[in-house]
């Protein structure tokens, strides 16, 4: 009789642990899937930038410095790996691009060039997508971190050594604006 009860309790504990484990796996997969989404959008941005630079180069002779910065920031961003260093490189690129867009306002010729306007629209859209994807990723990471740390999940997570995922950005930068709109301000 006692044996049966012990067996029952053990079975219950195992089932309960399996459920928690599966939940954690699902949460981690969500995080990884959303990281892919950021990846896709970052790649899109990296592909668009050389086009933009090539198109505006002729018209913006006096802004070679700004263009150089964009190009070198892009090169760094393409080479970076791991959430933390990538976030840093991408932030640099965002800032360089923001400056380029601000300078472009001063060139009416560029404004009337349909090709450039289209490129700029695509880049603006990509910027927004990156920031939204980042929001989603960080929300999912926060969710995952909470789930592995709360009791009793922490027993299971330490048993199977689940590691907390990294946020895409440092705290300070995460509080800044997600869209390019406001990022020009405060500089």
């Amino acid at each position: 009789m006692v044996g049966l009860i012990v067996l029952g309790v053990l079975a219950a504990v195992v089932i309960w642990m399996v459920m928690i484990y599966n939940g954690l796996i699902a949460a981690r997969n969500d995080v990884q899937a959303s990281w892919k989404q950021i990846d896709v959008q970052l790649k899109r941005r990296h592909d668009l930038i050389p086009n933009l630079v090539a198109t505006v180069k002729g018209a913006m002779e006096f802004e070679q410095d700004t263009l150089e910065k964009v190009i070198s920031a892009r090169a760094k961003a393409v080479g970076a790996s791991g959430p933390h260093s990538r976030a840093e490189a991408e932030n640099m690129l965002t800032q360089a691009l923001g400056k380029l867009f601000a300078v472009m306002e001063n060139y009416p010729d560029l404004k009337s060039n349909k090709n450039i306007m289209q490129l700029q629209e695509e880049l603006t859209s990509t910027e927004n997508r990156i920031s939204f994807a980042r929001q989603l990723y960080n929300d999912l990471v926060a969710n995952f971190r909470t789930r592995i740390e709360v009791f009793p999940n922490n027993i299971v997570s330490s048993l199977f050594s689940f590691k907390p995922e990294e946020y895409f950005e440092a705290e300070e930068a995460a509080r800044a604006t997600p869209s390019v709109n406001l990022s020009l301000k405060g500089k």
Binding site: E105, N128, F132, Q135, L136, E172, S179
Partner: protein
């Protein structure tokens, strides 16, 4: 505003179940009343009668519910004659991109269809159905008149309705009761109330008034919540506030967007007094909160954001005494905050107009540029630059002195910022008579006049049906006496909306309106006969 972007699921709402019960009762009641005369009195009613009646009602309600709620998005698209955006079109391309961005927010879990409504009116709507399709539709007029951040803000507002699930319940309610009652409404108007002699119709009509009671379930809170969520996504409360402000002064599609769809829209197409007032009853029966209050809430948010932003950076303005040299942030035409700029740099901005949003670096309120006395000086200076004669009167929207100019051989007063024109009412016929003397009407103005006439015509037709010819929205003050001017059509055949002051005898034309009026009369573009 707890909207998490994690795993947003469509909640099947308990309210939808209530809608079904109401529908069931409605059909049961109709069935009972229709069969009652053929019975010989109450004693003949057996349990079998009830069983048959309820089964029939259940069947009817089920079929109605299925047809109304399952594939609503398609019927909304058909009803509004909306088209998918054209990827080759620049403006539509932006809209497509924005929808794609919103899809990223949801983690790609919710597929959102988008559509453009071919109308000059300004409105946007969201719909969702039980099939799982969601739709964001924006009118052509709104797409063309808003800047990119404003479209973003409007689309984000609509996306929140879809994600939070309240779109599904409003869509179901609207299609269950709204479309039916709007069809009945049309029959009633065309038959001029004679239809009421048919008792069955009277009955159906009365029961369908129940549909309006369903507004009780639809709380105004959700509009505030969607506004807040939109700001959370785009971080740009001013863009949304400006978009809403534009909507208050324009045609929102009354008459074009059927009354069945009004609950789905960002602002109620029929600007009703109920919506604009507050209190227990209006909270209970109206679908949208007062727009003015929504704008105030948004602008309130803008100020708080500003203060936050200043705390993050270590700006020079905090170390420098702010009273000595105030610096400003200005919102550029593409809705980006630029700054901080000292006054002399601000004066050099080519796009600075009296209507530009301005805020001081000290984190003060966001103002129109004309309200700031220092910035106002810039405009005064700009006006003095050319050899121009200032008139003693100010533009009703920019509040800057008007310029006296000569047009078609007579003297008019013009605003050099918003291109509006003030004409003494007795000079208007004179100007019209001289149309085409110096230069002919341009193609652009003629085309514009044609579209505006067509749109205003359907709008006026609708107003006459509703027996309320009164236009809503804020009125401009008269430049001479400062009393509100009346907003009216120039005439019943030349449907151009103008602002007129009866006391001083002046007429205010917004940009292009005077030219359009001239064109209309010159080319004999008039409203069709039946409106007269």
């Amino acid at each position: 505003m707890p909207i998490t972007f994690i795993d947003i699921e469509r909640r099947t709402n308990w309210r939808i179940a209530i809608f079904f019960m109401v529908l069931l009762c409605l059909y049961a009641a109709i069935g009972f009343i229709l069969t009652f005369p053929s019975l010989n009195g109450l004693y003949q009613i057996s349990p079998r009668f009830w069983l048959v009646l309820l089964t029939a009602a259940l069947l009817a309600a089920g079929i109605h519910f299925w047809f109304a709620a399952y594939n609503t998005v398609d019927s909304v698209i058909r009803g509004l004659d909306a088209r998918p955006p054209d990827p080759q079109d620049e403006v539509h391309r932006i809209f497509l991109n924005i929808i794609e961005e919103l899809r990223v927010v949801t983690g790609g879990k919710q597929k959102i269809r988008c559509a453009v409504i071919p109308s000059l009116s300004l409105n946007a709507l969201a719909a969702a159905d039980l099939k799982g399709t969601a739709l964001i539709a924006i009118t052509e007029g709104l797409l063309s008149r808003l800047s990119r951040p404003q479209i973003e803000a409007v689309a984000a507002h609509e996306a929140h309705h879809i994600l939070s699930g309240d779109c599904l319940e409003t869509t179901v309610a609207a299609s269950l009761f709204g479309t039916l009652s709007s069809a009945l409404e049309r029959i009633r108007t065309f038959s001029q109330n004679r239809i009421f002699s048919l008792p069955a119709f009277l009955l159906a009509w009365l029961l369908l008034q129940l549909g309006h009671l369903l507004n009780m379930f639809i709380s105004r809170e959700r509009e505030y919540r969607a506004d807040a969520a939109s700001v959370r996504m785009t971080r740009n409360p001013i863009a949304l506030a400006e978009a809403l402000h534009l909507l208050t002064r324009s045609w929102r599609g009354a008459g074009f967007i059927g009354s069945g769809y009004e609950m789905l829209c960002i602002v109620n197409p029929q600007a009703s007094n109920l919506d604009e007032s507050e209190g227990f009853w209006s909270d209970l029966f109206s679908t949208h909160p007062p727009i003015g209050k929504r704008i105030n809430v948004l602008l309130g948010m803008a100020r708080i954001r500003r203060a936050d932003l200043e705390r993050n950076t270590i700006p020079m303005s905090s170390s420098a005494p702010s009273s000595a040299k105030p610096s400003y942030y200005a919102m550029s035409p593409s809705q980006q905050w630029q700054g901080p700029l000292p006054l002399n740099e601000l004066a050099l901005l080519p796009w600075l107009t009296p209507l530009t949003w301005i805020s001081t670096s000290a984190g003060g309120d966001v103002l129109r540029a004309w309200k700031d006395p220092l910035i106002s000086l810039i405009f005064g200076q700009r006006l003095m630059e050319g050899e121009r004669t200032l008139s003693p009167y100010a533009c009703p929207s920019c509040r800057q002195p008007l310029i006296t100019a000569s047009y078609e051989g007579t003297i008019i007063q013009q605003c050099s910022f918003c291109a509006g024109t003030l004409v003494d009412s007795d000079k208007v016929p004179r100007i019209i008579a001289r149309t085409g003397r110096d230069q002919p009407c341009s193609e652009r103005i003629t085309a514009l006049a044609r579209t505006v006439l067509k749109e205003n015509q359907s709008r006026q037709l609708y107003r006459m049906r509703q027996n309320s010819g009164k236009a809503n929205g804020p009125l401009l003050p008269c430049p001479k006496c400062n009393n509100p001017m009346r907003r009216q059509f120039y005439s019943m055949s030349h449907l151009i909306e103008i602002d007129r002051c009866g006391y001083c005898g002046v007429t205010w034309f917004d940009q292009n309106e005077l030219q359009m009026l001239q064109c209309m009369i010159h080319h004999r573009l008039t409203a069709e006969r039946y409106i007269l």
